[in-house]
Symmetry: C2
Subunit: 328 residues, 2 copies
Protein backbone atom coordinates (compact mmCIF):
# COMPACT_ATOMS: atom_id res chain seq x y z
CA UNK A 1 0.00 0.00 0.00
CA UNK A 2 1.07 3.58 -0.60
CA UNK A 3 -0.21 6.57 1.31
CA UNK A 4 -0.05 9.92 -0.46
CA UNK A 5 0.25 12.88 1.90
CA UNK A 6 -0.38 16.32 0.42
CA UNK A 7 1.27 19.00 2.51
CA UNK A 8 2.40 22.57 2.80
CA UNK A 9 4.84 23.83 5.39
CA UNK A 10 4.97 23.78 9.17
CA UNK A 11 1.50 22.49 10.13
CA UNK A 12 1.45 19.80 7.49
CA UNK A 13 5.03 18.78 8.16
CA UNK A 14 4.09 17.88 11.75
CA UNK A 15 1.64 15.24 10.56
CA UNK A 16 4.11 14.11 7.88
CA UNK A 17 6.66 13.47 10.62
CA UNK A 18 4.07 11.37 12.45
CA UNK A 19 3.35 9.44 9.24
CA UNK A 20 7.09 8.92 8.65
CA UNK A 21 7.45 7.45 12.14
CA UNK A 22 4.57 5.05 11.51
CA UNK A 23 5.10 4.18 7.84
CA UNK A 24 8.23 2.84 6.16
CA UNK A 25 9.71 4.81 3.22
CA UNK A 26 8.09 2.36 0.79
CA UNK A 27 4.61 3.00 2.16
CA UNK A 28 4.24 6.78 2.03
CA UNK A 29 4.98 9.58 -0.44
CA UNK A 30 4.93 13.23 0.59
CA UNK A 31 3.66 15.55 -2.13
CA UNK A 32 4.66 19.10 -1.32
CA UNK A 33 3.35 22.51 -2.34
CA UNK A 34 5.82 24.50 -4.43
CA UNK A 35 3.50 27.47 -4.94
CA UNK A 36 5.53 29.28 -2.26
CA UNK A 37 8.74 28.85 -4.23
CA UNK A 38 10.55 31.90 -5.54
CA UNK A 39 13.91 33.10 -6.75
CA UNK A 40 15.77 35.17 -4.19
CA UNK A 41 19.40 36.29 -3.99
CA UNK A 42 20.02 34.04 -6.97
CA UNK A 43 18.74 30.94 -5.16
CA UNK A 44 15.70 28.78 -5.77
CA UNK A 45 13.81 29.00 -2.47
CA UNK A 46 11.36 26.17 -1.82
CA UNK A 47 10.05 26.84 1.70
CA UNK A 48 7.60 23.96 2.07
CA UNK A 49 9.93 21.37 0.57
CA UNK A 50 12.71 22.53 2.87
CA UNK A 51 10.53 22.66 5.98
CA UNK A 52 9.47 19.07 5.37
CA UNK A 53 13.04 17.97 4.58
CA UNK A 54 14.44 19.54 7.74
CA UNK A 55 11.50 18.19 9.77
CA UNK A 56 11.96 14.61 8.56
CA UNK A 57 15.73 14.98 9.09
CA UNK A 58 15.03 16.09 12.66
CA UNK A 59 17.01 19.21 11.75
CA UNK A 60 14.17 21.72 11.82
CA UNK A 61 14.16 24.72 14.10
CA UNK A 62 11.46 23.83 16.64
CA UNK A 63 11.00 27.42 17.79
CA UNK A 64 10.82 29.36 14.53
CA UNK A 65 8.92 26.59 12.76
CA UNK A 66 11.09 27.15 9.68
CA UNK A 67 14.77 26.89 8.89
CA UNK A 68 17.38 24.80 10.62
CA UNK A 69 18.09 23.88 14.19
CA UNK A 70 21.07 25.69 15.76
CA UNK A 71 21.13 28.09 12.84
CA UNK A 72 23.45 31.12 12.78
CA UNK A 73 23.00 34.41 10.94
CA UNK A 74 26.44 35.79 10.09
CA UNK A 75 25.67 35.75 6.37
CA UNK A 76 22.55 37.87 6.89
CA UNK A 77 24.44 40.38 9.04
CA UNK A 78 27.15 40.74 6.41
CA UNK A 79 24.54 40.92 3.63
CA UNK A 80 22.81 43.80 5.40
CA UNK A 81 26.15 45.61 5.71
CA UNK A 82 26.50 45.22 1.92
CA UNK A 83 23.02 46.59 1.25
CA UNK A 84 21.45 43.23 0.33
CA UNK A 85 17.81 42.25 0.86
CA UNK A 86 17.34 40.84 4.35
CA UNK A 87 13.54 40.54 4.69
CA UNK A 88 13.76 36.84 3.83
CA UNK A 89 16.07 35.16 6.34
CA UNK A 90 18.57 32.63 5.06
CA UNK A 91 20.71 31.12 7.80
CA UNK A 92 24.35 30.13 7.36
CA UNK A 93 23.56 26.39 7.35
CA UNK A 94 20.42 26.80 5.28
CA UNK A 95 22.56 28.51 2.63
CA UNK A 96 24.39 25.25 2.05
CA UNK A 97 21.13 23.59 1.03
CA UNK A 98 20.42 26.47 -1.36
CA UNK A 99 23.89 26.45 -2.88
CA UNK A 100 23.64 22.69 -3.43
CA UNK A 101 20.16 22.97 -4.93
CA UNK A 102 21.39 25.62 -7.33
CA UNK A 103 24.25 23.36 -8.33
CA UNK A 104 21.87 20.48 -9.06
CA UNK A 105 19.41 22.69 -10.97
CA UNK A 106 22.22 24.39 -12.89
CA UNK A 107 23.39 20.90 -13.89
CA UNK A 108 19.98 20.37 -15.48
CA UNK A 109 18.49 18.22 -12.75
CA UNK A 110 14.83 18.52 -11.78
CA UNK A 111 13.66 20.00 -8.50
CA UNK A 112 12.59 16.45 -7.62
CA UNK A 113 16.12 15.11 -8.17
CA UNK A 114 17.70 18.04 -6.30
CA UNK A 115 15.28 17.48 -3.41
CA UNK A 116 16.18 13.79 -3.30
CA UNK A 117 19.94 14.51 -3.25
CA UNK A 118 19.53 16.99 -0.42
CA UNK A 119 17.19 14.78 1.59
CA UNK A 120 19.63 11.90 1.24
CA UNK A 121 22.46 14.12 2.43
CA UNK A 122 20.43 14.92 5.53
CA UNK A 123 19.63 11.27 6.14
CA UNK A 124 15.97 11.38 5.11
CA UNK A 125 14.81 8.02 3.71
CA UNK A 126 11.19 8.88 2.97
CA UNK A 127 10.18 10.23 -0.46
CA UNK A 128 9.63 13.99 -0.71
CA UNK A 129 8.12 14.96 -4.07
CA UNK A 130 7.48 18.52 -5.18
CA UNK A 131 3.93 18.68 -6.62
CA UNK A 132 5.50 19.58 -9.98
CA UNK A 133 8.94 20.21 -11.45
CA UNK A 134 7.44 23.12 -13.37
CA UNK A 135 7.24 26.58 -11.78
CA UNK A 136 3.92 27.34 -10.08
CA UNK A 137 3.80 30.64 -8.22
CA UNK A 138 1.06 31.53 -5.76
CA UNK A 139 -0.13 35.11 -5.85
CA UNK A 140 -2.26 36.50 -3.05
CA UNK A 141 -4.76 39.11 -4.24
CA UNK A 142 -5.19 41.83 -1.63
CA UNK A 143 -6.79 45.22 -1.29
CA UNK A 144 -3.26 46.56 -1.94
CA UNK A 145 -3.08 44.56 -5.19
CA UNK A 146 -1.61 41.15 -6.00
CA UNK A 147 1.41 40.02 -4.02
CA UNK A 148 3.84 37.21 -4.70
CA UNK A 149 3.31 34.76 -1.86
CA UNK A 150 6.52 35.40 0.07
CA UNK A 151 6.01 39.14 -0.18
CA UNK A 152 2.56 38.67 1.36
CA UNK A 153 3.60 36.04 3.87
CA UNK A 154 7.08 37.05 5.02
CA UNK A 155 7.80 40.60 3.90
CA UNK A 156 4.33 42.01 4.66
CA UNK A 157 3.59 39.54 7.49
CA UNK A 158 0.13 38.66 6.11
CA UNK A 159 -1.09 42.18 6.92
CA UNK A 160 -2.80 43.06 3.59
CA UNK A 161 -6.47 42.09 3.40
CA UNK A 162 -6.91 39.04 1.17
CA UNK A 163 -9.46 39.03 -1.67
CA UNK A 164 -8.39 35.89 -3.54
CA UNK A 165 -5.59 33.75 -4.89
CA UNK A 166 -4.16 32.47 -8.11
CA UNK A 167 -1.47 30.04 -8.97
CA UNK A 168 0.60 31.33 -11.88
CA UNK A 169 1.79 28.56 -14.12
CA UNK A 170 -0.43 25.89 -12.57
CA UNK A 171 -2.53 25.40 -15.70
CA UNK A 172 0.53 24.56 -17.79
CA UNK A 173 2.42 22.64 -15.10
CA UNK A 174 2.79 18.87 -15.25
CA UNK A 175 2.08 16.86 -12.15
CA UNK A 176 5.25 15.27 -10.76
CA UNK A 177 5.64 12.08 -12.83
CA UNK A 178 7.22 10.33 -9.83
CA UNK A 179 3.93 10.28 -7.92
CA UNK A 180 2.83 6.60 -8.00
CA UNK A 181 -0.91 7.23 -8.34
CA UNK A 182 -1.61 3.66 -9.47
CA UNK A 183 -0.31 2.30 -6.16
CA UNK A 184 -2.08 4.79 -3.92
CA UNK A 185 -4.36 3.24 -1.31
CA UNK A 186 -5.08 6.34 0.73
CA UNK A 187 -4.60 10.10 0.54
CA UNK A 188 -4.06 12.45 3.47
CA UNK A 189 -4.57 16.18 3.09
CA UNK A 190 -2.44 17.48 5.95
CA UNK A 191 -3.62 20.32 8.23
CA UNK A 192 -2.03 22.98 6.04
CA UNK A 193 -3.58 26.19 4.77
CA UNK A 194 -6.35 25.07 2.36
CA UNK A 195 -6.03 28.20 0.21
CA UNK A 196 -2.28 28.66 -0.23
CA UNK A 197 -0.82 25.28 0.70
CA UNK A 198 -3.28 22.59 -0.46
CA UNK A 199 -5.16 24.31 -3.29
CA UNK A 200 -1.94 24.92 -5.30
CA UNK A 201 -1.17 21.20 -5.07
CA UNK A 202 -4.67 20.30 -6.29
CA UNK A 203 -4.47 22.99 -8.98
CA UNK A 204 -1.80 21.05 -10.85
CA UNK A 205 -3.51 19.32 -13.80
CA UNK A 206 -3.53 15.58 -13.25
CA UNK A 207 -3.21 15.70 -9.47
CA UNK A 208 -6.90 15.41 -8.63
CA UNK A 209 -7.50 13.06 -11.57
CA UNK A 210 -4.64 10.79 -10.53
CA UNK A 211 -5.97 10.62 -7.00
CA UNK A 212 -9.54 9.98 -8.14
CA UNK A 213 -8.37 7.32 -10.60
CA UNK A 214 -6.68 5.49 -7.76
CA UNK A 215 -10.08 5.12 -6.14
CA UNK A 216 -8.41 5.66 -2.77
CA UNK A 217 -10.17 7.44 0.09
CA UNK A 218 -9.07 11.06 0.59
CA UNK A 219 -9.02 12.35 4.13
CA UNK A 220 -8.42 15.99 5.07
CA UNK A 221 -7.35 17.11 8.53
CA UNK A 222 -8.82 20.44 9.60
CA UNK A 223 -6.25 23.20 10.14
CA UNK A 224 -8.96 25.15 12.00
CA UNK A 225 -9.56 24.12 15.58
CA UNK A 226 -12.08 25.81 17.86
CA UNK A 227 -12.51 28.65 15.39
CA UNK A 228 -8.82 29.52 15.15
CA UNK A 229 -5.90 28.50 12.99
CA UNK A 230 -3.32 26.42 14.83
CA UNK A 231 -0.65 28.31 12.91
CA UNK A 232 -0.47 30.85 10.12
CA UNK A 233 -3.00 33.09 8.42
CA UNK A 234 -5.76 30.56 7.61
CA UNK A 235 -8.35 32.02 10.02
CA UNK A 236 -7.48 35.61 9.09
CA UNK A 237 -7.83 34.75 5.39
CA UNK A 238 -11.22 33.12 5.92
CA UNK A 239 -12.52 36.17 7.76
CA UNK A 240 -11.23 38.47 5.04
CA UNK A 241 -12.88 36.24 2.42
CA UNK A 242 -16.15 36.62 4.32
CA UNK A 243 -16.48 33.08 5.66
CA UNK A 244 -16.45 32.17 9.35
CA UNK A 245 -13.15 30.65 10.45
CA UNK A 246 -14.67 27.31 11.40
CA UNK A 247 -13.82 23.70 10.72
CA UNK A 248 -17.19 23.38 8.95
CA UNK A 249 -16.18 26.03 6.42
CA UNK A 250 -12.91 24.20 5.79
CA UNK A 251 -14.89 21.00 5.27
CA UNK A 252 -17.14 22.85 2.80
CA UNK A 253 -14.10 24.15 0.96
CA UNK A 254 -12.85 20.60 0.47
CA UNK A 255 -16.29 19.02 -0.09
CA UNK A 256 -16.93 21.42 -2.97
CA UNK A 257 -13.85 20.30 -4.85
CA UNK A 258 -14.78 17.91 -7.60
CA UNK A 259 -12.78 16.09 -10.23
CA UNK A 260 -13.69 15.11 -13.77
CA UNK A 261 -16.47 17.61 -14.42
CA UNK A 262 -16.39 19.75 -17.53
CA UNK A 263 -13.96 22.63 -16.98
CA UNK A 264 -15.63 25.54 -15.20
CA UNK A 265 -18.60 23.48 -14.05
CA UNK A 266 -19.24 22.09 -10.59
CA UNK A 267 -19.88 18.68 -12.12
CA UNK A 268 -17.67 15.67 -11.56
CA UNK A 269 -17.04 13.47 -8.57
CA UNK A 270 -16.08 14.87 -5.18
CA UNK A 271 -12.39 14.48 -4.41
CA UNK A 272 -12.39 14.45 -0.62
CA UNK A 273 -14.21 11.62 1.15
CA UNK A 274 -13.38 12.10 4.81
CA UNK A 275 -12.64 14.85 7.30
CA UNK A 276 -10.80 14.78 10.62
CA UNK A 277 -12.30 17.11 13.22
CA UNK A 278 -10.62 18.15 16.43
CA UNK A 279 -12.20 17.03 19.68
CA UNK A 280 -13.07 20.62 20.57
CA UNK A 281 -15.19 20.80 17.40
CA UNK A 282 -17.15 17.58 18.00
CA UNK A 283 -20.43 19.50 17.78
CA UNK A 284 -19.63 20.29 14.13
CA UNK A 285 -19.52 16.62 13.17
CA UNK A 286 -23.15 16.47 12.02
CA UNK A 287 -22.77 19.53 9.79
CA UNK A 288 -19.66 18.08 8.18
CA UNK A 289 -21.32 14.74 7.59
CA UNK A 290 -24.22 16.59 5.97
CA UNK A 291 -21.68 17.73 3.39
CA UNK A 292 -21.25 14.11 2.37
CA UNK A 293 -17.98 13.61 4.21
CA UNK A 294 -17.20 10.75 6.54
CA UNK A 295 -15.83 12.09 9.82
CA UNK A 296 -13.66 11.10 12.70
CA UNK A 297 -12.77 13.06 15.80
CA UNK A 298 -9.21 13.32 17.05
CA UNK A 299 -6.74 15.37 19.03
CA UNK A 300 -5.36 17.32 16.04
CA UNK A 301 -3.19 19.89 17.83
CA UNK A 302 0.28 18.36 17.65
CA UNK A 303 2.52 19.63 20.41
CA UNK A 304 4.72 16.58 21.01
CA UNK A 305 6.15 13.91 18.75
CA UNK A 306 3.66 11.51 20.34
CA UNK A 307 0.83 13.83 19.27
CA UNK A 308 2.13 13.63 15.69
CA UNK A 309 2.37 9.84 15.76
CA UNK A 310 -1.02 9.47 17.41
CA UNK A 311 -2.73 11.67 14.82
CA UNK A 312 -0.97 9.77 12.03
CA UNK A 313 -2.36 6.50 13.41
CA UNK A 314 -5.89 7.95 13.68
CA UNK A 315 -5.73 9.18 10.08
CA UNK A 316 -4.39 5.84 8.83
CA UNK A 317 -7.08 3.95 10.73
CA UNK A 318 -9.65 6.31 9.25
CA UNK A 319 -8.25 5.49 5.82
CA UNK A 320 -8.55 1.83 6.66
CA UNK A 321 -4.83 1.60 6.10
CA UNK A 322 -3.82 1.34 9.71
CA UNK A 323 -3.57 -2.44 9.65
CA UNK A 324 -1.19 -2.36 6.71
CA UNK A 325 1.05 0.20 8.34
CA UNK A 326 4.42 -1.30 9.12
CA UNK A 327 7.05 0.36 11.27
CA UNK A 328 9.90 2.16 9.56
CA UNK B 1 49.10 63.21 -9.51
CA UNK B 2 47.87 59.64 -9.70
CA UNK B 3 49.80 56.62 -8.51
CA UNK B 4 48.95 53.30 -10.14
CA UNK B 5 49.60 50.29 -7.91
CA UNK B 6 49.58 46.87 -9.58
CA UNK B 7 48.87 44.15 -7.07
CA UNK B 8 47.95 40.56 -6.43
CA UNK B 9 46.75 39.23 -3.11
CA UNK B 10 48.12 39.24 0.40
CA UNK B 11 51.69 40.51 -0.06
CA UNK B 12 50.69 43.25 -2.45
CA UNK B 13 47.67 44.24 -0.39
CA UNK B 14 49.96 45.07 2.53
CA UNK B 15 51.75 47.76 0.53
CA UNK B 16 48.42 48.93 -0.92
CA UNK B 17 47.17 49.50 2.62
CA UNK B 18 50.28 51.59 3.32
CA UNK B 19 49.67 53.58 0.13
CA UNK B 20 46.00 54.07 1.08
CA UNK B 21 47.06 55.48 4.45
CA UNK B 22 49.46 57.92 2.77
CA UNK B 23 47.51 58.85 -0.36
CA UNK B 24 43.97 60.20 -0.66
CA UNK B 25 41.45 58.29 -2.79
CA UNK B 26 41.98 60.80 -5.62
CA UNK B 27 45.72 60.14 -5.74
CA UNK B 28 45.97 56.36 -6.10
CA UNK B 29 44.34 53.61 -8.12
CA UNK B 30 44.78 49.94 -7.27
CA UNK B 31 44.85 47.66 -10.32
CA UNK B 32 44.26 44.10 -9.24
CA UNK B 33 45.05 40.72 -10.76
CA UNK B 34 41.95 38.75 -11.74
CA UNK B 35 43.86 35.79 -13.19
CA UNK B 36 43.05 33.94 -9.97
CA UNK B 37 39.33 34.38 -10.50
CA UNK B 38 37.13 31.35 -11.04
CA UNK B 39 33.56 30.15 -10.84
CA UNK B 40 32.86 28.03 -7.79
CA UNK B 41 29.59 26.89 -6.20
CA UNK B 42 27.85 29.21 -8.64
CA UNK B 43 29.76 32.26 -7.41
CA UNK B 44 32.32 34.45 -9.14
CA UNK B 45 35.36 34.18 -6.86
CA UNK B 46 37.89 37.00 -7.17
CA UNK B 47 40.48 36.27 -4.48
CA UNK B 48 42.90 39.16 -5.06
CA UNK B 49 40.16 41.77 -5.46
CA UNK B 50 38.51 40.54 -2.27
CA UNK B 51 41.76 40.36 -0.29
CA UNK B 52 42.49 43.97 -1.18
CA UNK B 53 38.91 45.07 -0.48
CA UNK B 54 38.88 43.44 2.94
CA UNK B 55 42.37 44.76 3.66
CA UNK B 56 41.48 48.36 2.82
CA UNK B 57 38.23 47.96 4.79
CA UNK B 58 40.30 46.79 7.77
CA UNK B 59 38.11 43.66 7.65
CA UNK B 60 40.73 41.16 6.54
CA UNK B 61 41.63 38.10 8.55
CA UNK B 62 45.11 38.95 9.83
CA UNK B 63 46.00 35.35 10.62
CA UNK B 64 44.85 33.48 7.52
CA UNK B 65 45.92 36.30 5.21
CA UNK B 66 42.68 35.80 3.23
CA UNK B 67 38.99 36.05 3.97
CA UNK B 68 37.29 38.10 6.66
CA UNK B 69 38.07 38.94 10.23
CA UNK B 70 35.93 37.10 12.80
CA UNK B 71 34.71 34.73 10.10
CA UNK B 72 32.55 31.69 10.91
CA UNK B 73 32.21 28.44 8.97
CA UNK B 74 28.71 27.09 9.52
CA UNK B 75 27.96 27.19 5.80
CA UNK B 76 31.01 25.08 5.00
CA UNK B 77 30.12 22.52 7.66
CA UNK B 78 26.58 22.18 6.31
CA UNK B 79 27.86 22.08 2.73
CA UNK B 80 30.15 19.18 3.60
CA UNK B 81 27.20 17.36 5.17
CA UNK B 82 25.37 17.81 1.85
CA UNK B 83 28.30 16.49 -0.18
CA UNK B 84 29.40 19.86 -1.56
CA UNK B 85 32.95 20.85 -2.49
CA UNK B 86 34.78 22.18 0.54
CA UNK B 87 38.40 22.49 -0.64
CA UNK B 88 37.87 26.20 -1.26
CA UNK B 89 36.76 27.82 1.99
CA UNK B 90 33.96 30.37 1.85
CA UNK B 91 33.09 31.82 5.25
CA UNK B 92 29.58 32.79 6.32
CA UNK B 93 30.31 36.53 6.07
CA UNK B 94 32.38 36.18 2.91
CA UNK B 95 29.35 34.51 1.29
CA UNK B 96 27.45 37.78 1.57
CA UNK B 97 30.04 39.46 -0.65
CA UNK B 98 29.74 36.65 -3.17
CA UNK B 99 25.94 36.68 -3.19
CA UNK B 100 25.98 40.44 -3.71
CA UNK B 101 28.58 40.22 -6.48
CA UNK B 102 26.50 37.60 -8.25
CA UNK B 103 23.46 39.88 -7.99
CA UNK B 104 25.38 42.78 -9.54
CA UNK B 105 26.87 40.63 -12.32
CA UNK B 106 23.52 38.95 -13.00
CA UNK B 107 22.04 42.45 -13.39
CA UNK B 108 24.55 43.02 -16.18
CA UNK B 109 27.00 45.14 -14.22
CA UNK B 110 30.75 44.84 -14.80
CA UNK B 111 33.13 43.29 -12.27
CA UNK B 112 34.46 46.83 -11.82
CA UNK B 113 31.01 48.16 -10.90
CA UNK B 114 30.31 45.19 -8.61
CA UNK B 115 33.67 45.71 -6.92
CA UNK B 116 32.91 49.40 -6.38
CA UNK B 117 29.48 48.67 -4.85
CA UNK B 118 30.95 46.12 -2.46
CA UNK B 119 33.93 48.29 -1.50
CA UNK B 120 31.55 51.18 -0.80
CA UNK B 121 29.41 48.92 1.37
CA UNK B 122 32.50 48.07 3.39
CA UNK B 123 33.49 51.72 3.71
CA UNK B 124 36.44 51.64 1.30
CA UNK B 125 36.95 55.04 -0.38
CA UNK B 126 39.98 54.20 -2.51
CA UNK B 127 39.54 52.92 -6.09
CA UNK B 128 39.94 49.17 -6.61
CA UNK B 129 39.99 48.27 -10.30
CA UNK B 130 40.15 44.73 -11.65
CA UNK B 131 42.80 44.62 -14.38
CA UNK B 132 40.03 43.80 -16.86
CA UNK B 133 36.30 43.17 -16.86
CA UNK B 134 36.90 40.30 -19.28
CA UNK B 135 37.70 36.82 -17.97
CA UNK B 136 41.43 36.03 -17.74
CA UNK B 137 42.27 32.70 -16.14
CA UNK B 138 45.76 31.79 -14.98
CA UNK B 139 46.81 28.21 -15.62
CA UNK B 140 49.88 26.76 -13.94
CA UNK B 141 51.69 24.20 -16.05
CA UNK B 142 53.09 21.43 -13.89
CA UNK B 143 54.70 18.02 -14.30
CA UNK B 144 51.20 16.69 -13.54
CA UNK B 145 49.76 18.74 -16.38
CA UNK B 146 48.08 22.17 -16.48
CA UNK B 147 46.09 23.24 -13.44
CA UNK B 148 43.59 26.07 -13.05
CA UNK B 149 45.21 28.46 -10.60
CA UNK B 150 43.04 27.77 -7.58
CA UNK B 151 43.40 24.04 -8.07
CA UNK B 152 47.19 24.48 -8.02
CA UNK B 153 47.23 27.06 -5.24
CA UNK B 154 44.49 26.01 -2.84
CA UNK B 155 43.36 22.49 -3.64
CA UNK B 156 46.85 21.08 -4.35
CA UNK B 157 48.65 23.50 -1.98
CA UNK B 158 51.30 24.42 -4.62
CA UNK B 159 52.72 20.89 -4.43
CA UNK B 160 52.97 20.07 -8.18
CA UNK B 161 56.28 21.07 -9.80
CA UNK B 162 55.81 24.16 -11.96
CA UNK B 163 57.03 24.26 -15.56
CA UNK B 164 55.32 27.43 -16.80
CA UNK B 165 52.21 29.58 -16.88
CA UNK B 166 49.62 30.92 -19.23
CA UNK B 167 46.82 33.35 -18.92
CA UNK B 168 43.75 32.11 -20.80
CA UNK B 169 41.77 34.92 -22.33
CA UNK B 170 44.42 37.56 -21.72
CA UNK B 171 45.12 38.13 -25.43
CA UNK B 172 41.48 39.00 -26.12
CA UNK B 173 40.82 40.84 -22.87
CA UNK B 174 40.43 44.62 -22.78
CA UNK B 175 42.32 46.57 -20.18
CA UNK B 176 39.96 48.11 -17.61
CA UNK B 177 38.79 51.34 -19.28
CA UNK B 178 38.54 53.02 -15.87
CA UNK B 179 42.31 53.06 -15.41
CA UNK B 180 43.30 56.74 -15.85
CA UNK B 181 46.61 56.14 -17.65
CA UNK B 182 46.81 59.74 -18.92
CA UNK B 183 46.94 61.03 -15.33
CA UNK B 184 49.43 58.51 -14.02
CA UNK B 185 52.56 60.02 -12.51
CA UNK B 186 54.03 56.89 -10.98
CA UNK B 187 53.51 53.14 -11.03
CA UNK B 188 54.17 50.71 -8.18
CA UNK B 189 54.47 47.01 -8.81
CA UNK B 190 53.65 45.64 -5.36
CA UNK B 191 55.63 42.77 -3.79
CA UNK B 192 53.31 40.14 -5.22
CA UNK B 193 54.22 36.95 -7.07
CA UNK B 194 55.81 38.12 -10.37
CA UNK B 195 54.65 35.03 -12.27
CA UNK B 196 51.04 34.56 -11.19
CA UNK B 197 50.07 37.93 -9.71
CA UNK B 198 51.87 40.65 -11.67
CA UNK B 199 52.47 38.98 -15.06
CA UNK B 200 48.72 38.40 -15.62
CA UNK B 201 48.11 42.12 -15.05
CA UNK B 202 50.84 43.06 -17.53
CA UNK B 203 49.58 40.41 -19.97
CA UNK B 204 46.38 42.38 -20.60
CA UNK B 205 46.79 44.17 -23.95
CA UNK B 206 47.05 47.92 -23.38
CA UNK B 207 48.25 47.70 -19.77
CA UNK B 208 51.98 48.02 -20.48
CA UNK B 209 51.36 50.41 -23.36
CA UNK B 210 49.15 52.65 -21.24
CA UNK B 211 51.79 52.78 -18.53
CA UNK B 212 54.60 53.44 -20.97
CA UNK B 213 52.57 56.15 -22.72
CA UNK B 214 52.14 57.92 -19.40
CA UNK B 215 55.91 58.27 -19.24
CA UNK B 216 55.68 57.64 -15.50
CA UNK B 217 58.45 55.83 -13.62
CA UNK B 218 57.63 52.20 -12.80
CA UNK B 219 58.99 50.83 -9.55
CA UNK B 220 58.81 47.18 -8.52
CA UNK B 221 59.19 45.98 -4.94
CA UNK B 222 60.96 42.64 -4.61
CA UNK B 223 58.81 39.85 -3.15
CA UNK B 224 62.00 37.88 -2.55
CA UNK B 225 64.01 38.85 0.51
CA UNK B 226 67.21 37.12 1.57
CA UNK B 227 66.61 34.34 -0.95
CA UNK B 228 63.13 33.46 0.30
CA UNK B 229 59.59 34.51 -0.51
CA UNK B 230 57.97 36.56 2.24
CA UNK B 231 54.76 34.67 1.52
CA UNK B 232 53.47 32.18 -1.01
CA UNK B 233 55.12 29.97 -3.62
CA UNK B 234 57.33 32.53 -5.43
CA UNK B 235 60.64 31.03 -4.27
CA UNK B 236 59.47 27.46 -4.86
CA UNK B 237 58.33 28.39 -8.37
CA UNK B 238 61.65 30.03 -9.21
CA UNK B 239 63.57 26.97 -8.08
CA UNK B 240 61.30 24.70 -10.12
CA UNK B 241 61.79 27.00 -13.12
CA UNK B 242 65.54 26.61 -12.69
CA UNK B 243 66.40 30.11 -11.52
CA UNK B 244 67.84 30.94 -8.12
CA UNK B 245 65.24 32.43 -5.74
CA UNK B 246 67.04 35.76 -5.42
CA UNK B 247 66.00 39.38 -5.64
CA UNK B 248 68.39 39.75 -8.59
CA UNK B 249 66.44 37.15 -10.56
CA UNK B 250 63.19 38.97 -9.81
CA UNK B 251 64.82 42.20 -10.99
CA UNK B 252 65.91 40.39 -14.19
CA UNK B 253 62.38 39.12 -14.72
CA UNK B 254 61.05 42.68 -14.62
CA UNK B 255 63.99 44.29 -16.45
CA UNK B 256 63.43 41.95 -19.41
CA UNK B 257 59.85 43.09 -19.87
CA UNK B 258 59.60 45.56 -22.71
CA UNK B 259 56.73 47.39 -24.31
CA UNK B 260 56.19 48.45 -27.88
CA UNK B 261 58.49 46.05 -29.67
CA UNK B 262 57.23 43.97 -32.56
CA UNK B 263 55.20 41.05 -31.17
CA UNK B 264 57.42 38.13 -30.22
CA UNK B 265 60.60 40.17 -30.32
CA UNK B 266 62.57 41.48 -27.36
CA UNK B 267 62.51 44.94 -28.91
CA UNK B 268 60.70 47.92 -27.46
CA UNK B 269 61.31 50.05 -24.39
CA UNK B 270 61.77 48.53 -20.93
CA UNK B 271 58.68 48.89 -18.76
CA UNK B 272 60.18 48.84 -15.29
CA UNK B 273 62.56 51.66 -14.34
CA UNK B 274 63.26 51.09 -10.66
CA UNK B 275 63.56 48.30 -8.14
CA UNK B 276 63.20 48.30 -4.37
CA UNK B 277 65.59 45.92 -2.61
CA UNK B 278 65.32 44.82 0.98
CA UNK B 279 68.07 45.90 3.36
CA UNK B 280 69.22 42.30 3.75
CA UNK B 281 69.91 42.18 0.01
CA UNK B 282 71.96 45.40 -0.17
CA UNK B 283 74.87 43.51 -1.71
CA UNK B 284 72.68 42.75 -4.75
CA UNK B 285 72.20 46.45 -5.53
CA UNK B 286 75.07 46.65 -8.00
CA UNK B 287 73.86 43.64 -9.96
CA UNK B 288 70.36 45.07 -10.18
CA UNK B 289 71.67 48.47 -11.32
CA UNK B 290 73.68 46.65 -13.99
CA UNK B 291 70.32 45.53 -15.38
CA UNK B 292 69.52 49.18 -16.04
CA UNK B 293 67.24 49.63 -13.06
CA UNK B 294 67.45 52.44 -10.54
CA UNK B 295 67.49 51.02 -7.04
CA UNK B 296 66.65 51.93 -3.51
CA UNK B 297 67.05 49.92 -0.36
CA UNK B 298 64.28 49.63 2.20
CA UNK B 299 62.81 47.53 4.95
CA UNK B 300 60.33 45.63 2.75
CA UNK B 301 59.07 43.00 5.20
CA UNK B 302 55.80 44.53 6.43
CA UNK B 303 54.84 43.18 9.85
CA UNK B 304 53.07 46.21 11.32
CA UNK B 305 50.86 48.91 9.85
CA UNK B 306 53.78 51.30 10.38
CA UNK B 307 55.95 49.01 8.23
CA UNK B 308 53.33 49.27 5.47
CA UNK B 309 53.15 53.06 5.71
CA UNK B 310 56.93 53.41 5.88
CA UNK B 311 57.47 51.28 2.77
CA UNK B 312 54.73 53.21 0.96
CA UNK B 313 56.58 56.48 1.73
CA UNK B 314 59.90 55.05 0.54
CA UNK B 315 58.33 53.87 -2.71
CA UNK B 316 56.61 57.21 -3.28
CA UNK B 317 59.85 59.11 -2.57
CA UNK B 318 61.62 56.77 -4.98
CA UNK B 319 58.97 57.64 -7.57
CA UNK B 320 59.64 61.29 -6.87
CA UNK B 321 55.98 61.52 -5.89
CA UNK B 322 56.51 61.69 -2.20
CA UNK B 323 56.24 65.48 -2.10
CA UNK B 324 52.88 65.39 -3.85
CA UNK B 325 51.50 62.81 -1.47
CA UNK B 326 48.70 64.28 0.61
CA UNK B 327 47.12 62.61 3.61
CA UNK B 328 43.81 60.79 3.13
Amino acid sequence: MTILALTGGVGGAKLCLGLARVLSPEDVVFVVNTGDDFEHLGFHISPDVDTLTYTLADAANPVAGWGRQGETWHFMEALEELGGETWFRLGDKDLALHVRRREFLAAGQSLTAATAHIAQGLGVRHRILPMSDDPVRTFVHTRDGPLAFQHYFVRDRCAPEVTGFDFHGAASASVNPAIPFEQVTGVVICPSNPFVSVDPVLAVPGMGEGIRRSGAPVVAVSPIVGGAAIKGPTAKMMQELGVPATTVEVAKHYAQRTVGGAPGTVGGAPLVTGFVIDAVDTDAEGEVQALGLATTVAQTVMRSLDDRVDLARVVLDFLGAGAAASGP
